[in-house]
Every structure is written in structure tokens, then in C-alpha cells.
């Protein structure tokens, strides 16, 4: 064997990955060739340097988060557990402050309206999404897990719902994540993520697909009562974003999530 013959094999030789016969042949050449011997030494030295870099250290608490995720995926949610998660009383604190009062009055109006017009709810469930959003606003805490850290919120969901949607913080884009809770929309458990834009809260409901369900699209729901619902789906989940935020900004929000959450290529509809 000459230098040209062994050139392509030096790496595997340095790694001790050659078959016995190849190894012997390469060694026969390398032992007598200073250049190739130096190449082998160089490959090994580089390997030691890369190895010395070591692994990236694990982020604080990741083991706990992964364990929570695994625990969550291991258990199937029971319908009864859902309801108990949601606090039902309206606390006094919410009644304080004019903003909260306004929210409350608006919410009651919407709920009353929804209550009175059950026959008209559209097939895509926009009304129900709005009322679930409002229900969230009425609660003491907007979220059961209060954290702006997606990596904490996600395993929490896995434990509560048995599925774990990707959670992204959009603080840099002006939609900080406030937290999450579990809810029940359109007859199934859903993760509800709460984001804020100025004084407006946005609830993002995420639930696994149901067979045969159509792409929700922009329901335009509640155009008259000031709530907008935008829906879309990806390979695994259906999403609804609902808020009293103006429609353009809600679409911008959905687009951000479409770009991050949605990996299947479906984009939220344009306004």
C-alpha cells in the first residue's frame, strides 16, 4: 500500500474501526511512512481536543422537566379530572379595579348573549372558544401555572392533559407568555395558554385533532362583541387564538405561532 491507498483509511485507522486485515495493511504502510504517521497523530490529537471541550452542561432543572413530561405522557387524562382543575368561584380581587370591572361586565354580556343564542353557534365552534376565553378571564388567576418559561409550562401540560403542545414565549415579539391552564373546549380537553398584548389577554387553545374535523380557519366570531377567533391546525393539533385585541394584531400573533408552532406547513389565514 502506498500513501494514496491509505489516505482514505487513516481516519478509520486512527479510530480503530478497520477490519483486521485492513488494519494490518494500513499499519504496514504507516509504520514506515513519516507523513502518514503524522496524519494519524494529528487526527488523534484533534479528537482529544474536541473531546476535551466536553458536553454542554444541562440547563438547570431540565431533568425535572423531562421527568414531568414523561410522567404526563404516561398517564391518560380522565374527563373528571378536568373539571376539578378549574377554579369556579369569582374572587373579590377581580372585582377591584375598573379594568377588571369592565372585563367582568363585558364578559357577563358575552356569556348572556351566548346563552341566549345557542342555536346560532357556527360549526367551527367560534362561540364556544370565545366563551372559554371569557371564562378564563373571569377566573381568579388567568392561569393555573404562572410562568413565562415555556419549558416549565409544557411539562405541566403533559401532566394535566396527557399531551404536550410546544409552548413558545413571544415576549420578544410583544406577546409575553403569562401562563397556562387546562380547559375543555368543543368537547375535549385543551391546553389554554395566556398571552398578553398591552391590556388585552389572548388565550391560545390547543387540542389534539379530532378525526374528520375541518380546519377551523378565521371564524370571525364575535365581530360584533369585539372578540376575534383565529384557528389553524398542524400535523398534530388544532389551535384557536381568541382575544378582544384588534384583528390585525391577532393575526400577527397567529402568524408568529404559525411560524413557530406549526411545522406542517399550514399557515393561519391572512386577514
Amino acid at each position: 500500500m502506498n500513501c494514496e491507498d491509505v489516505q482514505g483509511l487513516l481516519g478509520a485507522y486512527a479510530d480503530d474501526e478497520l477490519s483486521a486485515s485492513d488494519r494490518l495493511a494500513v499499519r504496514g504502510h504507516v509504520d514506515g511512512c513519516e507523513t502518514c504517521a503524522r496524519d494519524v497523530a494529528r487526527i488523534r490529537a484533534l479528537g482529544r481536543r474536541v473531546q476535551a471541550l466536553g458536553r454542554y452542561p444541562l440547563p438547570e432543572g431540565i431533568e425535572r422537566r423531562i421527568a414531568a413530561l414523561v410522567d404526563g405522557a404516561a398517564q391518560q387524562p380522565e374527563a373528571s379530572r378536568w373539571r376539578s382543575v378549574r377554579p369556579s368561584r369569582i374572587p373579590v380581587a377581580v372585582l377591584l379595579g375598573s379594568h377588571a370591572v369592565a372585563v367582568l361586565i363585558g364578559a357577563i354580556a358575552v356569556i348572556a348573549w351566548l346563552w341566549l343564542m345557542p342555536g346560532k353557534s357556527p360549526a367551527n365552534g367560534g362561540r364556544e372558544i370565545v366563551s372559554a376565553h371569557v371564562r378564563g378571564l373571569l377566573q381568579n388567576q388567568f392561569s393555573s401555572v404562572e410562568s413565562g418559561n415555556p419549558h416549565t409550562v409544557r411539562p405541566w401540560f403533559a401532566g394535566k392533559t396527557g399531551f404536550a403542545p410546544r409552548v413558545v414565549d413571544l415576549a420578544e415579539a410583544g406577546f409575553p407568555l403569562q401562563g397556562g391552564r387546562v380547559d375543555h373546549v368543543l368537547g375535549r380537553p385543551a391546553a389554554a395558554l395566556v398571552y398578553v398584548r398591552r391590556n388585552h389577554r389572548i388565550t391560545l387553545f390547543i387540542a389534539p385533532h379530532r378525526a374528520g374535523e375541518a380546519d377551523p380557519g378565521d371564524t370571525g366570531a364575535g365581530g360584533s362583541d369585539g372578540y376575534h377567533v383565529v384557528g389553524w391546525r398542524d400535523a398534530e393539533f388544532t389551535y384557536w387564538a381568541v382575544s378582544d385585541l384588534n384583528r390585525a394584531e391577532l393575526h400577527a400573533f397567529a402568524a408568529l405561532l404559525g411560524a413557530t408552532v406549526d411545522r406542517a406547513g399550514t399557515r393561519p389565514p391572512d386577514p
Partner: protein
């Protein structure tokens, strides 16, 4: 999941390797943890289909596929911060290196060396970077790497030698530049 205990024994312990690979492939800690969480979720859902004994190989294959899916489907918007990594400024790996208490100058030199090497690895194409990390940091055999990356062993061999070649060239270039700076 019925085989929870087995999952804990065979798959969970590989978290450090899984995170390290994801961190190198995604280029930032947020996406890396996202990918690892995703991968572990998939892994425990699909664990009933895992019959082998090489848990490391299995979970790392899932991790790298998750990372590449993430990268392919468009980098997340927050990846604008990746520029930093691209410039070789990725202090979290370097600074975590244990000091064996050499003098301050040695330390500085070692740190600079480490940073240069780090930057050179970060600059490798994804496909070369992953085989290099799997080989040199994780110490996998060619056969294991071939299984993780899902390519023939010959491809692993050639990617690895290309990775090493590029790395060596980059480091030599760096050395020359460094010398010119000192003059």
C-alpha cells in the same frame, strides 16, 4: 406507559448526550431544550416499539431527527440570536470546563484555544458536525453513528474525515491569523 421503569433505566440516563447533540445542532439552548423535550415525548409514546437494548442509539436518533425537522421547517424567529453562535461566541460550553488550576495565562490561552475550536465546529455543516460530536464527544462506534444518522457506515467514515479535514484547516487558518495579530 407500562414500561415506565424500563424507560427510566434505558432512555432517561442519556439526557446529557441528547441535550449536547441538540445543543450543537440547534445552536442555542432554547431550541435545544425544545427539541429534547419533543424527542423525549416522542420516545415515550413510541417506547413500546423499542425492542433493542441500545437506548442511547435509539434516543439520539430521535433527537437528531427532531432537530433536523425543526431546522428544516424553518428556523424559529427567535433564532435571530443565532448570529452570536455563528461568530463562535458560545460561552456556555467553554466556561463550564473545569479548571485544573493552571496559571491565569495558561487559563486564558486554553480558553482562547477552546473558543476557536468551538467556533470551528459550530461553523461545520450540520451533517458533518453531528458525526464529529457523536464520534469525538460521545465516543460512538461507526456502526452506532450509522444507525443514529441512518446512513451507511461508509458515509459516516467519509463525513467524519471531511469534518476533521475542515476543522484542521480552520484551526490552521486561525493560527496564522493569530500570529499576524501578535506581530
Amino acid at each position: 406507559m407500562r414500561r415506565r421503569a424500563e424507560f427510566e433505566r434505558l432512555i432517561l440516563p442519556h439526557l446529557p448526550a441528547a441535550y449536547n447533540l441538540a445543543r450543537w445542532l440547534t445552536g442555542n439552548p432554547q431550541d435545544a431544550e425544545d427539541a429534547v423535550q419533543d424527542a423525549y415525548l416522542r420516545a415515550c409514546r413510541g417506547f413500546d416499539g423499542f425492542a433493542g437494548s441500545d437506548g442511547a442509539r435509539w434516543i439520539l436518533a430521535i433527537v437528531r431527527n427532531t432537530c433536523f425537522t425543526m431546522l428544516r421547517k424553518g428556523r424559529m424567529w427567535r433564532n435571530v440570536v443565532r448570529l452570536e453562535t455563528a461568530r463562535g461566541h458560545a460561552p456556555d460550553a467553554i466556561e463550564a470546563q473545569p479548571d485544573s488550576a493552571p496559571g491565569p495565562e495558561d487559563q486564558l490561552h486554553a480558553k482562547r484555544e477552546g473558543e476557536r475550536l468551538h467556533a470551528a465546529i459550530a461553523a461545520l455543516p450540520d451533517g458533518l458536525r453531528e458525526v464529529l460530536i457523536l464520534r469525538e464527544v460521545e465516543g460512538f462506534s461507526y456502526a452506532q453513528i450509522a444507525a443514529i444518522v441512518d446512513v451507511p457506515i461508509g458515509t459516516v467514515m467519509s463525513r467524519l474525515s471531511r469534518a476533521r479535514k475542515r476543522l484542521q484547516e480552520a484551526l490552521v487558518q486561525d493560527d496564522e491569523q493569530g500570529r499576524r495579530h501578535e506581530l
